[in-house]
């Protein structure tokens, strides 16, 4: 009986972790910025490194490395009437490959999901296509599921890039 319960718990954890990843992408694509922001834990980091093997987000450069404070500023600006680059409003869609559930990392206590993705962003006539792999590190509480780390490795992170107006 207990073995069955454990298996069911594992399955439940897997479902919750995968659901969070899918929900996050859907909120981004729906431009529901406040709801998106609420998925991040107070100690969360949103990280887009410049190199795929990067381990240091502070002393090495990244395309983005934001804590909830900086993410909040990003979201706050989304509704500012003179955020000039948001007119016309950019729109984006994430196309996710089936997320890969990597289970619990015992060291951090976080659940791990890796997802390959394609990303299209349009603003007026301008369109950019990006793709890469996102890694979610997730804290599962009794009720809440929170993102503690979202790391996005673009396959061309080292290329000269145009503006990416929305969060990946």
């Amino acid at each position: 009986m207990s073995t069955n319960t454990t298996a069911a718990e594992h399955e439940r954890q897997r479902e919750r972790a995968l659901a969070l990843v899918i929900t996050e992408a859907a909120l981004l694509d729906a431009a529901r910025w406040q709801a998106w922001l609420a998925l991040f834990a107070p100690d969360a980091r949103y990280w887009v490194p410049l190199t795929s093997d990067q381990t240091d987000p502070v002393l090495q450069q990244s395309l983005a490395y934001e804590d909830p404070l900086l993410l909040s500023i990003r979201v706050e600006r989304m509704s500012h009437p003179r955020a000039w680059s948001l007119f016309p409003a950019p729109r984006a869609v994430h196309v996710l490959q089936a997320p890969i559930y990597l289970g619990l990392d015992p060291a951090s206590g976080l659940y791990q999901v890796d997802t390959a993705f394609g990303y299209t962003e349009v603003r007026g006539q301008r369109e950019i296509q990006l793709s890469g792999r996102m890694r979610h590190r997730i804290r599962l509480g009794p009720i809440d599921a929170q993102i503690v780390l979202k790391r996005i490795d673009l396959i061309n992170a080292d290329a000269a890039l145009p503006s990416i107006y929305l969060p990946l």
Binding site: Q60, L63, L69, I73, R74, W84, A159, A160, S163
Partner: protein
Amino acid sequence: MAIYRESSEAIRNLYDGERVHRDAYLSTEIFALEMERLFARRWLYAGHMSQVPQAGDFITLEIAGTTLLMIRQADGGVQIMANRCAHKGAMLRCQASGHVDRAIQCPYHAWSYRLDGSLLAVPLREGYQGSHLATSEAAGGLTRFQTAVYRDFVFVCLDPNAAGLTAQVPAELLGCLDAMADRSPLGRLEVAGPCLRNVIECNWKIYLENINDTVHANVTHESSALSAEAVWQRTQSAAPSALKKPMAIEQLLPFSSGSDFMEKMGGRVWAGGHSILGIHASLHSDYSSVPGYEQAMIAAWGEPRAKQILAWSPQNALIYPSIAFKSAPQTLRVIRPLGVSRTLVEIWAFRALGAPDILLERTQTYNRIVFSPMSIVAHDDVQVFESIQRGLAGAGNEWVSLHRGQAGTRAADGSRAESESMATVGGTDERLMRNQYRAWLEALVMSDTASVESASAASASAASASAASASGASASGASASTKGIPAKRDSGDAPLVSSAGVTKS
């Protein structure tokens, strides 16, 4: 049809001292002339010695349509040469960086070259008997370009006849590089990781004008500065006790500074298009002090020089036409035109060796939140730059206005007099941009190299006299400066402009 190549008069008509004609930004012919007559004849930024620490280490780069190799030499110097095999033109290396032992071999037919670019060996040598290979260009190996090193910053000039670095670049601008390097108690910098790179669909001059544009800050960046302010206020009011202002907040809030503060920043322009914006103050002036750092700097440099370095944080120093940098935070942008309406900006960060990590963290944070392709601050700049490129192409008004700050610059007969080799201006004065066009016009209308040289050499000669003797700048890779501590360290003639107590109020 070549309108501008054939007529200096047509080029002169593009800038009348107050206005720039839209063709300067839109004409592919002008762009080609800019590459030939300006970019190919100026000292441009190539890289930093710390990117090629060992003999045989190389980086590749492309400047004004020429692919280049920058290779560390066996004698410790550095040489920049064409990344183009002398045989059939194949690029010798295509990766961003790497290492070769003693020789570099072409991947096509195995022609090989020494680290200095000279031809080492060709395969099937006997087959060349009776040919003129030995007297052809191919026998000369890889084309070597003028290379100069100043405080480990490596510069290249594609024109073999151009005057040296210190003849083109005023001593005060090199002094800003000193001020960056001397933020290290050891006097040495190191490139910190790969650079950010942003491609913008605009003419390079639109970006360059903005380097000196303080008036746009609280207009274009209002949303970023006010959003930061709003979030920070909410964060503080929700906190039970006083919070330390986070680094990002410290860096974002000054973008809402008013035009009074911007004017008082002050600027200085030099012939040749060079400038320093923020000689009295800048948006970087009020960053918090770093515990222990000042003492380490005083121990290294003596109190007067240390305080001078620490007080010096101009908004942007501009070595025309391609380098915009900040002594603090230690950041350097390189503007690389890719096409008439396409510009690459590289954003480099430097670690001040022997200084606390927080200095580098400050640089990386600033570059990321202000210059990254994902930066909300850069977004509003980029969208304006790209819209200018579209706006200018339309019917109607064909001119860009740079009229502001003309008072006092007219001669008695009404003619425009902005011909001094150096002048001090207010921080909102568009002379900071007119100065770029003065140099631009000079470069484009002069069709022979000698006249370009004499003009820029004359304009910079007074300023560069001390730099030439004291800086350790060296040409052609001799690189006496790579290990040297600058002679300026304790001298009273350090080129920093005094920062007479302007504070933001």
